[in-house]
């Protein structure tokens, strides 16, 4: 370990370290995020920080005076999420120095994603950086690290073939729908949640021939806006339970804190058309659909982990490109780390 470590760190939990049930408990509610940020801002010794909060990641990037500061950060986070520190420690991701840079670069390039090579994560890292910048949590070190990381991620995506093939959750979900319904032209698709990932799924269904699309959202304006973009219908989410039986495919991608589709709601809907299959895609975290729904006859429930596992099977074709991308990221991260060290030594 360098004498400058651990001034730069990443700590958190991801799909690599925590199972789905725990990732649900670790999920950071968008409404509660500012309160956590304020708590962290008051931590002594935490010079800079940015929070990457996605379906599969709760990652805190920062610059700290000592390892003790990292411990304090974890304590604050656990108290905020009301979870045991020991449990969090067991599934914790913790990297410092060059390893932290390497990790952020790999995450931005999509190399650490559940669906290796997917593009959404790059936008999410940029959003996390922009949000931290807005609240002035980012200083010179994190600024440089993020900027250089974005350059490395762009280079990897343009110079390797890691993003080729079916590497988005949306495409995997639509492929899966064809194994249930065959031709999608007469399938009735409902999208619950007007977020980016749901929109991508809806567009993928539309591009594969699904003509009957409906968007439901907690905010009717959002639903109507997205429905207009997709040439779909809008539905208030309160009416979802009454209309469930109408749909063949339901894509759930809301930010609701708990399940919006219960076992009993799906059972009731299935009683109206018991012989017709129902495909449920749960892209939300915390999950929008109760897991026990999968036991109902003719209901096929897939969540993020399931779709990622299917995508993983397609990954072998891109193995060489992924290796090439990892080598590029490692070289760039090493170069940046040395650069930062020289700067730090010069300033001392």
């Amino acid at each position: 370990m360098s004498k400058l470590e651990p001034f730069l760190f990443v700590v958190g939990a991801t799909h690599h370290t925590a199972p789905l049930e725990w990732r649900e408990k670790l999920a950071l509610n968008a409404a509660a995020l500012p309160r956590l940020e304020e708590q962290l801002a008051t931590l002594g010794g935490l010079e800079e920080f940015a929070i990457l909060n996605t379906c599969n990641r709760r990652e805190f990037y920062g610059v700290a005076e000592s390892q003790a500061t990292l411990g304090q950060l974890c304590t604050v986070f656990c108290e905020h999420q009301e979870i045991e520190m020991d449990a969090f420690s067991a599934m914790q991701l913790r990297k410092t120095g060059s390893e932290a840079i390497h990790h952020l670069s790999a995450v931005s390039a999509g190399l650490e994603s559940q669906l290796v090579g997917e593009n959404e994560i790059f936008g999410q890292v940029k959003e996390a950086y922009a949000a931290a910048q807005k609240t002035q949590r980012v200083g010179p070190i994190l600024h440089k690290v993020f900027q250089k990381t974005f350059q490395a991620a762009k280079m990897v995506r343009t110079q390797t073939g890691i993003s080729e093939g079916q590497v988005s959750v949306a495409n995997v979900a639509v492929d899966l729908a064809t194994t249930i319904f065959g031709n999608l032209s007469d399938t009735r698709v409902l999208l619950a949640g007007a977020g980016e990932i749901g929109e991508q799924a809806a567009k993928a269904f539309r591009s594969r021939g699904a003509n009957d699309l409906t968007v439901a959202s907690r905010t009717m304006d959002n639903a109507m806006q997205l429905a207009q973009t997709l040439d779909a219908r809008a539905l208030p989410i309160e009416k979802l339970a009454d209309r469930l039986a109408y749909f063949d495919v339901i894509v759930c991608a809301t930010a609701a804190p708990g399940a919006i589709l219960s076992h009993s709601a799906i059972s009731t809907a299935m009683q109206k058309h018991p012989a017709a299959p129902l495909f449920l895609i749960d892209l939300a975290l915390p999950r929008d659909i109760e897991a026990s729904v999968a036991k109902i006859d003719n209901v096929y429930l897939y969540n993020l982990d399931d779709l990622a596992a299917i995508s993983e099977e397609n990954k072998s074709a891109r193995t060489a490109e992924i290796t090439k991308a990892r080598e590029m990221i490692a070289a760039k991260a090493h170069h940046l780390w040395e650069n930062l060290q020289r700067r730090r030594e010069a300033s001392n």
């Binding site: 194994t179 249930i180 319904f181 065959g182 012989a275 006859d297 003719n298 096929y300 099977e313």
Partner: protein, 278 residues
């Protein structure tokens, strides 16, 4: 060449289909639909020749012993596949049909006792009874194909429920297509069997004393069972994997019943002529 020789060659064609399909499955490759279809079609043509020669020999539709009943069932299922397989582009169904026809042909050919006696003029020159028997056996062929699509439905359902979509599972048709085909086959099978029962009953009513009670009870039981499945499916009370299991179970029961039904007929008819190889 004798009728049995033609049928042996037909079975060899089905065997080639099974080998080609198995190799494709083991290599996780898509079934070579065209090649499979070709071998099934050649097998069907050769089997038709064999059954035609047998028909000329016995002076009617060859439905006089267990061997002939098995052959006619396999022939009916294959004939239907040649139509359904093209309509629905079901390459994997070709593999299963080859397998079923091979098993039925091989089993019936390898049990000499089933073909030891051949009945000439089994239906006493009554074309309606012959039509009744042919319709009933043809419906068994439909139910054979229904059992195959039901097996495919169960495999697809298992793969979707357990998230195992690669390998051989990747080549199964969609579960909705399989359900559609199965329901259509059930409808057609029940209609054919009902028509057969109607034709048969018209004869029985006029000559009730000639009715073989065991045969009648077994046939009516199978008709009621399939009819029940048909009604429950239409009412939405029987569907999905439960329907698939029932269709498989009913076909096995129907196939098993062929032997006792054929055995029970012996007491009602004049002694058959033992077959001597020319």
């Amino acid at each position: 060449m004798t009728d049995r020789t033609w049928i042996w060659i037909a079975a060899a064609c089905y065997l080639v289909g099974v080998v080609i399909g198995t190799v494709a499955l083991l290599r996780h490759r898509k079934q070579p639909a065209g090649t499979l279809y070709l071998f099934v079609a050649i097998g069907f043509a050769l089997q038709t020749v064999g059954l035609y020669i047998r028909g000329l020999e016995v002076g009617g539709c060859p439905l006089g012993n267990t061997f002939e009943l098995f052959q006619f069932t396999a022939w009916s299922a294959t004939a239907l596949y040649l139509v359904v397989g093209v309509t629905f582009r079901l390459s994997l169904l070709g593999y299963f049909t080859s397998l079923l026809s091979l098993v039925l042909s091989a089993v019936s050919l390898s049990v000499p006792a089933w073909d030891a006696t051949r009945r000439s003029d089994v239906f006493g020159g009554n074309v309606w009874i012959e039509f009744h028997a042919a319709l009933a056996l043809f419906s068994y062929g439909v139910f054979a194909l229904l059992a195959l699509t039901s097996i495919m439905f169960l495999l697809r359902n298992y793969s979707l429920k357990n998230k195992q979509l690669s390998g051989a599972f990747a080549f199964l048709p969609s579960i909705r297509d399989l359900d559609t085909i199965s329901v259509r086959l059930l409808n057609v099978g029940v209609m054919l069997l009902s028509a057969s029962m109607l034709v048969g009953s018209a004869y029985w009513i006029r000559a009730i004393d000639t009715v073989n009670l065991s045969k009648l009870l077994i046939t009516v039981a199978i008709w009621i069972a399939y009819g029940g499945a048909f009604i429950l499916r239409r009412q939405g009370k029987l569907y999905g994997k439960n329907l698939a299991w029932i269709c498989i179970g009913l076909f096995i029961a129907a196939l098993i019943s062929v032997y006792p039904v054929n055995l029970s007929r012996r007491g009602d008819e004049p002694p058959p002529v033992p077959f001597v190889q020319p």
